[in-house]
Amino acid sequence: MLTLKIAFRNIFRNTRRSITTLSTIAIGATAVLVFGAYITYIQYGVQTSAVQRTGHLQVFRNGYFNYGTAAPADWGIDSYQDVLRLIREDPELKRLTAVVTPIQSLAGIAGNFENNTSKPFFGTGFVPSDRDRMKQWDEYGTGSQGLTNSGLRDNDLTKGITGTGVVRILGLCDRLHLNDCPPTPKLAARQPDPSTSALATPAPDLAELATRDNSADDTHSEEPIIDLLAATAGGAPNVVTLRVSRVEIQTLKELDDNYVGMNIGLAQNLIYGRGEHQVSGIVVQLKRTEDLEKARKRLMGLFKEYGLDLEARDFTELNPQYNQIIGMFRSIFAFISAIIAMVVLFTVTNAMGMSVIERTGEIGTSRAMGVRRHGIRKQFLAEGSLLGVMGATVGVLLAYLVAYAINHSTLTWSPPGQVARAPLRLYLIGAEWLIATTWIGLLVVSALSALVPANRAARMVVVDALRHV
């Protein structure tokens, strides 16, 4: 008790030096906590965005994740309605899940034969109402939006959405009146090469098919029509018509230039034709991320129990950039924390070193009165630790103030991997682990900083210390 009393009073003996030291620790603590809270928010924001798009888990036929994406039709889940029912009706999973919905991945060629243009595409077929429900997931209240409303209806198999690049390349910008979507520039006419000219235009039967399809629709509609050509599961070519009801900018140019989203029924018509309709995956979105492993375990248990050759992949596997983004921010956080720890270390060491020099006579007196070397060491360690405790505590309070100010401002930003802007927030409430680690970390650094001066004080020769003026 006396050690702490003396330590506390000595801290305020040289007020200016102590305030400088305490400010350094406090600002360091604030910086670490604010940045840590920002990273926590980013982590939750990126997770929210990923979970809205891909769910927490996706169930595939075993091997699809590694080998099947090139030919989704060959890796479809048989009797998927039974699997869906099995997952949806399982009592344990029912409690954990928010949305369980099928998806169908597909790839092929998208063509606008009015404009004589075509390009490869890849896309997804989904249940529009389920996709819109998935968009509602916001466990952490980040306000992140990985998806926008599709605007599609479950019973309408004619409409779909595309990336802006798809409609730009297919020459549909004018029809869609899109901003930032310039019309296709006129290229200088080339002399036709007889050997390739036949390939430059669509095959007569496809062109005819497209013409027939288009004539059946209202070609004056605001929603332009594209034709999607893909190979069916049986290997035959198949074509469907899609009205572009919405254009959604994607986060990567490659994705934006190739993405086509549609009602799952349309995707199945294209891939499976008149054959048995399958799906390439089943998306499972949970109510809470912390239940992910529990849900995965239960799913695998069900698959084993019913002899289903299925696997479940989580959102970090489905979104490799998730771990990259989090890893990058954590590295930056560790780097900044290390720098701040070094600054605190040198500041406290300097302050304690000065204190030892100034109090040499006092050290001699204490030793003469019978305080052991260990007692002197403990005294200075207590002072260093107390500086850490006070500085870190003030830092935590300052961090809460900064977090409050930012959270109540109207600042917004674009999170990584997301198009829509989100409110800028600092997640300090609930970040007990971050606060405790920072507080204890600074306390330990401060105590360690005092170790060298404390040892110097403890090793002083009593008569020399008493003689010190």
Binding site: M1, T3, I6, S366, M369, G370, V371, R373, V462
Partner: protein, 247 residues
């Protein structure tokens, strides 16, 4: 400061014989490559419950025996028995505990802990000894009254005069009931009137608490109060006067 687990020091306070015995003690200091002999083989006993003075001109080496007796320095050669204990045989922790239990110090520059009040400074040695709080309070308060500073108990050293600081230092030295009190030039930083009152106080306390006081001084007024006088010159004991009888 937390109470130390004190080493077992043999109880000798009421034993007979001298409180301190120095036997052929040599102390050599090294200053760079140069060796300086502060004490050149001195032998003497300090009797109990007396006012003993180690006197001599400045630089004669009178502070060195005081440091050796107080166990804050070690002899280069020779043995020192304090209360029958060969202090040369004790390790650093045992020596610290020995000082905590047996030795009181009064310094020329008072050497109070600046962040503690007068009362807390007096209580400090008792905390080191692990004396229970109630007893600490009682003994510290009594000692503060004994040195006439009851009304100054909450004042810090920087709020006290030189004389008041030295009174606190005397109370601090005596509060634990040491075997002896070592006082290094206790009146050197005081004006003559305050110095005289401090000498009177120490004499009164010595009689009241039956304690041994050992001084190093060249203050003639203080010397006039000596029961025993050891004169040191050039690191050697040149004279010993005991109760008016010369040895």
């Amino acid at each position: 400061m937390k109470t130390q687990a004190l080493a077992q020091i043999p109880e000798t306070k009421h034993a007979g014989g001298p409180v301190v015995r120095l036997s052929d003690v040599v102390k050599v200091y090294k200053e760079g490559d140069v060796e300086v002999s502060a004490i050149k083989g001195i032998t003497f006993d300090i009797p109990r419950q007396r006012f003993s003075m180690i006197v001599g001109p400045s630089g004669s080496g009178k502070t060195t025996p005081l440091n050796l007796i107080g166990c804050i320095d070690k002899p280069t050669q020779g043995t020192i028995f304090v209360g029958g204990q060969d202090v040369g045989a004790l390790n650093d922790n045992a020596i610290s505990d020995f000082r905590a239990q047996r030795v009181g110090f009064i310094f020329q520059n008072f050497s109070l802990i600046p962040v503690l009040s007068a009362w807390e400074n007096i209580e400090h040695p008792l905390m080191l000894l692990g004396v229970p709080a109630a007893e600490r309070r009682e003994r510290s308060t009594r000692m503060l009254e004994a040195v006439g500073l009851s009304d100054q108990r909450k004042r810090r050293p920087n709020q006290l005069s030189g004389g008041q600081k030295q009174r606190v230092a005397i109370a601090r030295a005596l509060v634990k009931g040491p075997d002896f009190v070592l006082a290094d030039e206790p009146t050197a930083n005081l004006d003559s009137q305050t110095g005289a009152s401090i000498i009177d106080l120490m004499r009164r306390m010595q009689e009241e608490y039956s304690t041994t006081f050992v001084f190093s001084t060249h203050d003639s007024h203080l010397m006039s109060h000596a029961d025993e006088t050891f004169t040191i010159r050039d690191g050697q004991l040149v004279n010993h006067v005991s109760g008016g009888s010369r040895c």
